[in-house]
């Protein structure tokens, strides 16, 4: 068991998402940074998609009621175990009674706490992700509160070195595949979507201008402020399915990017769609930060996906090898 000692609103249980019910109006939910969730799970010996805690409001503190292994990935939030500082993207064995604390990160938005075995909550429609809007999944369909106690599912023996071990964060390990701009503006790759051409000459500004993530942004979607982009002439669209990453342009001309808790259907013109493999970076973007869209292609997306798969594959192979080596040493 783990016990939440201190939390802000909107911290939830999330896995990789709920699939197969979009045609009934059910959003996928799931971690905003799926890569951080996957790495956290791999570090504690889980499958990539086990349920973890997504922390996006800080400070956050929890106490372990039994010995377990925990990983902290995603935003660097000056994590501490009983006051002792832990490196980012780190996994370690913890004892009953110890307290882990996360402080407000300076750069990114969301941290993930993964536990060996994964968070124990009842799957709803095949997923443990919390749907706040639907009020189901995760912990009774709500966000975490102080004094909440959550179970951790049984795990196989998970041997970690004394002091723990870590993974190289993807920003570093995959720097060649996720380029950064010189001025710190986040670069988000996207592909023109269905109504792109209806914006005529205005569409070019979608790529050229810098957008600011407005305060009206959350797990459902980000509203972007910038110079409005308008249709050449109004268009009436029939309601259609959408997916996270779709960039819609409502009549105000300020873009909306749908995120993990995206509505399943929409009717606003779609100017672009973020490539799936860049969604985790957008999921780490903070309110008030700036981004630019970079025109991409399926070929480029595939190349980045392969690099990410290699990175995850390395971690997947290394963790059991490390555990075996440690076990062999302890037998000697």
């Amino acid at each position: 068991m783990i016990e939440v000692l201190q939390t802000g609103p909107l911290n939830t249980v999330q896995d990789l998402g709920r699939f197969g019910f979009r045609n009934a109006g059910v959003t996928s939910s799931g971690a905003m940074d799926r890569l951080a969730l996957a790495v956290g799970n791999l570090l504690v010996g889980n499958d990539e998609g086990e349920a973890a805690l997504e922390v996006q409001t800080f400070p956050f503190r929890l106490r372990f009621d039994r010995d377990t292994t925990v990983a902290i990935t995603g935003a660097d939030c000056d994590a501490r175990l009983d006051g002792r500082r832990l490196p980012p993207w780190w996994a370690l064995a913890v004892s009953a009674g110890q307290v882990v604390e996360l402080a407000t990160p300076r750069h990114s938005a969301r941290a993930y706490l993964s536990f060996a075995g994964g968070i124990e909550v009842e799957p709803v429609m095949g997923s443990r992700s919390t749907s706040l809007r639907g009020g189901f999944g995760g912990l009774d369909g709500r966000f975490l509160a102080a004094n909440d106690r959550l179970g951790v599912r049984p795990a196989g023996a998970c041997v970690v070195p004394p002091g723990g071990f870590g993974a190289m964060p993807p920003e570093t390990a995959l720097a060649d595949h996720f380029p950064a701009s010189e001025d710190g503006t986040l670069l988000v790759r996207a592909i023109p979507a269905g109504e792109y051409a209806l914006f005529g000459g205005e569409a070019e500004r979608f790529w050229s201008q810098t957008w600011k993530i407005s305060s009206q942004s959350d797990r459902t979607g980000y509203r972007l402020s910038g110079e409005p982009i308008k249709l050449v002439s109004p268009v009436e669209l029939r309601s259609h399915g959408v997916v996270p990453g779709v960039v819609q342009m409502p009549p105000s001309g300020e873009a909306i990017v749908q995120m993990s808790d995206a509505n399943t259907a929409g009717g606003y013109p779609k100017i672009a769609g973020v490539i799936d493999i860049d969604l985790w970076r957008l999921g780490q973007a903070r309110i008030g930060s700036r981004l630019r869209f970079v025109r991409s292609s399926v070929a480029e997306a595939l190349a980045v996906e392969r690099a990410v798969e290699t990175y995850l594959g390395d971690i997947r192979r290394t963790v059991p090898m490390l555990a075996e080596a440690l076990a062999a040493m302890s037998r000697r």
């Binding site: 699939f19 197969g20 019910f21 979009r22 045609n23 009934a24 109006g25 059910v26 709803v124 429609m125 749907s131 809007r133 639907g134 189901f136 999944g137 996207a190 592909i191 023109p192 979507a193 269905g194 109504e195 792109y196 051409a197 209806l198 914006f199 005529g200 000459g201 569409a203 070019e204 050449v232 029939r238 309601s239 259609h240 399915g241 959408v242 997916v243 990453g245 779709v246 509505n263 399943t264 259907a265 779609k270 769609g273 973020v274 490539i275 799936d276 493999i277 399926v298 997306a301 595939l302 996906e305």
Partner: protein
Amino acid sequence: MISIQNEPLSTPAFIAAVPAGEPKISVIGTGAYLIEAPGAFDLEAQRRIWALAHAVELWPEVREVVPGVTNLLVILKRTPVEPEQFEARLRTEWNCSRAIDLVGKTVEIPVTYGGEHATDLAAVCDYTGLTDREVVQLHWQGDYTVVALGSAPGFGYLHGLDPRIHVPRKTVPSLRMLKGTVTIGGMQTGVSVLTGPNGWNSIGFAELPMFDPMKNPPALLAPGDKVCFVPERIEL
């Protein structure tokens, strides 16, 4: 209908009329394809979308399909290595698909028309030039078909609304419309499933739960179902 080149131009758009019968196919990001039936909305096009959905959801590379209003979103398990080929297969499948009737159930939804939750009934009367009694009667006398589910868990877009009570969505949405509110949005009607902001016009209230996450299937309605509204009470 208009068609857009797959690789949009950076200069003013090239928009051309296309032959009737050609669907529009576009992408959302790397793994989702939207195919839109040509022509005006009609149930025939919708039946063909259902046929397409049934065929495509069996394709091994497809994770899920989301039927919309005369369109279908196809979500793939992974980014296709040959996107043009996938698009071509989708187009071929559409061209082969023949309209099907889904064997749906009939769902009766008891409604309290008027009353405290029908906050837009007066505006609907103003817009349509009908009395509240006429609006209510035209609504419950309709035979409705569930065209698609979406927007929120279990929300059904219902087709079959009498054209005399087609009312556009509100320019300023209600901030906190109750779950269960019976609404009109353009040419469609439906029962809201979540309490929250809503741009459709409220004319009544229904107690019947439309969605239960612990049930299988969780949604009461399914595409192709028939819906009848039963006026349980009329408070005008």
